[in-house]
Symmetry: C2
Subunit: 171 residues, 2 copies
């Protein structure tokens, strides 16, 4: 089971980026999106996407990120441009995950408390240049999850890939 | 040379997502960011990043996207969840790029005119689930560019990767 925790979401300002984080979590194979804070707007968008596009992905909201992070049973990673290169620690993370079966991916907005670097098992950089937490999450999951294994049961809509134009099938 | 074109940017609403698209373009190896429209706010952020973190990346603003896309000499791809799977057409795109030496990656916000699907050589899906243009760009470039080849000359700041905490070196 893979959880993605979004920290530092600011109402209004981060509405779109937080929604992107949630959509990427689902599309790239996470099972759960954990939003820290009081805003449930991004969760509604995600629920609509699950209703239409299927899968068992769930999106929840919590208040106490510290407790959640501390109590989480499994491998905890923090995506940050200050961390160690993904390609150097990916195999370690995979090995730990094989044992614990649970992974938490912590994704911040702008400022992340120093404590997070300590509470997580690995601080992982998808490149050490300023980029985007949405990009970091997508690339990390792309390397971590076997895309073939991702299922979206119960979908009402499905894309039929096309060379030109759009084709969406209603199921 | 790799250019990333951002279409459909709405002032205010897309400020953060467009900036993420530009940052990802730079961090993952593109040479140029082409913003369609009248808003130069995201370009200023990108210029500041280049000043501090180096490299030859340039960010420009254009008005006529249709002309730019039509006149572009090289491979043109459009990232869309309705397109053909990346892993099925990546080698074709790479082969074309080897010949033409230029690649344009078209990235939309919400609605993209049907014409774009025709003007581009390939409509490429990084997964057929709703996700994020920022994620699509990052994953595409991660598969397309040799990360080792990316240089950021002239940087004032550089991250020294750490297992814990942050270390930024002033050069």
């Amino acid at each position: 089971m893979i959880s993605v925790m979004r920290y530092g979401h600011r109402i209004g300002r981060d509405k779109r980026t937080t929604t992107h984080v949630g959509l990427v979590a689902r599309a790239f194979g996470a099972d759960e999106f954990v939003l820290v804070g009081m805003d449930s707007t991004p969760l509604k968008t995600l629920e609509n996407v699950v209703d239409n596009w299927g899968g068992d992905f769930r999106a929840i909201r919590i208040k106490n990120w510290r407790k959640f992070l501390r109590d989480f049973s499994g491998v905890k990673i923090h995506l940050t441009m200050y961390g160690l290169p993904l390609n150097k620690i990916l195999s370690k993370i995979k090995a730990d995950y094989t044992k614990s079966k649970n992974l938490l991916v912590f994704v911040g907005a702008e400022k992340v408390p120093p404590e997070v670097y300590e509470l997580c098992d690995y601080n992982v950089a998808v490149g050490n240049q300023p980029h985007s937490e949405i990009a970091a999450l997508a690339v990390f999951l792309d390397h971590f999850v076997d895309a073939q294994s991702i299922g979206f049961d119960g979908a009402v809509l499905r894309v039929e890939p096309q060379a030109r134009g759009k084709k969406v099938v209603k199921l």
